[in-house]
Symmetry: C2
């Protein structure tokens, strides 16, 4: 298969690429290195079946040219602003980097006859739902961050393009994905903060916010299983685990894993149950649909977080 | 109150303006005359409390300047591409004229401290739902037109802005709105076609597609009632009627209303149950939420269509 991967230098893709290359696919990666890291993609440049292009997916002409040149069998469209709080400061950030970019990818698919898209959506689209764990058919969708608003917009664009232009789509609504080669996120942030100053740790919010953390290896297992097993035109699944981990637990485990004496670390917490205004404090995603398809994450939320902490501490050390 | 009305020269707004002006509000209208008509807005120019600005809402700087100059109490954001099939040909049409424009309006609200938005969404966002009549909490939203995808994107942007920047929103998901001063739509199209050639009428699709038609006077009653009565941060309601009217019925009633002999009109139908690819053939919207608030349309779908036919035949004659 010929596969285009967007956001190829980002956290998810850098863990995905070895799998696709091992399976023997020809992979063409794109990234603008805004969140993605040059060193993450450099690892794959020697591979004969890997090609990389550095440009911004907002450049529609380049996206279309690339798709017309490659004529891929499918695209893993993973590029996005994954720093949710950023979108509150720069209000058009997700509109451009999420919605607009996704439109460009879909338009390029249409013009090049590319018929399959695998898309990383988010459980954030459910906003602050009345139903926990939240199933895929939950409504209405009232997102509280511009990031989530953009993911909803992308899902709508994907399903409308799918209907009108014979495209099939696999949409995965992620819990919080953790693992090696992070570019951002709570584990990465806490470790960086404690490396700079091992005597104190500032937590955004009161630390009680709790979410289902999924290890990136489980996440990729799930996406690949879903892609192979679900054969509707639109295949939309929560990709999560049943339990939750709180930010306070993560802080405690990181202090332990870094070999710090907990009594010597002053933890400053906020008063709010949310980390920031668009943060969904309590996330639980219903995973029964994915289980009915035949897949379940191997690691619990706690196991995923602990493993990701070990991996990240080792990488940043 | 100071009120900005977007899409001020369009079908809905031209019926709304007399109400707002009669209630004594200061109204500032904006339109780019893409679908809107100069003669529809010209009627209000002599009014002392009406101001009109001709520009494209894609021009973010002008939108922001206007909001900062007017500092409105609320905005009726009605501007949109309402010609759904158009978006299939020009795939970025709804992204620009719907999603982008709505972002610009919200950003202007944020910067000018405007705290209330009334938004015309659409029952099209439900796609081809498994549940009829479709309630507001239906999910997942898999739209089949880029128009509907854009309405979903707009709703998401509105709710995210509402959450982050102290804005309150009234979102009305319309059935098919009909009435005087149309700019497009099945009634308008059929009458125009029959005026050009009274011996034949071409119907897109097989004519069995059926939807709830709402008269614009009912629609505006409902919006105003909802705006005054619903006091959540996000107020989201289907605005429709319980019954449906088929395109075949509309064709028959128009031929009658125009005084044509039905046996002398050859009707050419398509084979598809849909009028075009992104057309939702069977629409029924659950109106119980609006009824629980205390409002119900006065006219049934059939009554609304018949009255709109009379009004449109009289205006185009």
């Amino acid at each position: 298969m010929k596969i285009i991967v967007t956001g190829a230098a980002g956290f998810i893709a850098t863990n995905l690429l070895p799998r696709l290359l091992t399976e023997g696919h020809e992979v063409v990666g794109v990234d603008n290195f805004f969140l993605g890291r040059r060193e993450y993609v450099d690892r794959f440049l020697p591979h004969q079946k890997f090609q990389f292009h550095e440009f911004d997916l907002l450049d529609r002409e380049r996206v279309i040219s690339l798709f017309e040149a490659v004529r891929p069998d499918c695209v893993w469209h993973i590029a996005a602003n994954s720093d949710i709080s950023f979108g509150t400061t720069y209000t058009d950030f997700d509109l451009k980097g999420g919605t607009h970019v996704t439109y460009n990818v879909l338009e390029a698919m249409r013009l090049s006859g590319t018929s399959q898209i695998i898309f990383s959506s988010s459980g954030a689209i459910y906003g602050e739902p009345r139903v926990l764990p939240t199933p895929e058919d939950y409504g209405p969708l009232f997102p509280i961050s511009l990031y989530a608003a953009s993911k909803i917009a992308c899902e709508g664009l994907i399903t409308a393009f799918a209907h009108n232009y014979d495209i099939r789509a696999w949409i995965f609504r992620f819990g919080n994905i953790v693992g090696p080669f992070p570019t951002h996120g709570v584990i990465y942030d806490f470790i960086q903060k404690l490396r700079r100053d091992p005597t104190r740790l500032q937590i955004l919010g009161d630390g009680t916010q709790a979410k289902p953390y999924v290890h990136v290896e489980d996440c990729l297992d799930g996406m690949m299983f879903g892609y192979r097993s679900a054969r509707e035109r639109i295949n939309c699944y929560n990709l999560a685990v049943g339990d939750q981990t709180s930010v306070n637990e993560i802080a405690r485990w990181i202090i332990e894993a870094m070999g710090l004496d907990a009594s010597g670390v002053r933890i400053d917490r906020g008063n709010e149950p949310r980390g920031w205004r668009g943060d969904v404090a309590q996330v639980r995603l219903d995973t029964r649909r994915m289980e009915a398809l035949g897949w379940k994450a191997k690691m619990s939320s706690g196991e995923a977080v602990k493993r990701a902490i070990r991996e990240t501490v080792a990488q940043l050390a």
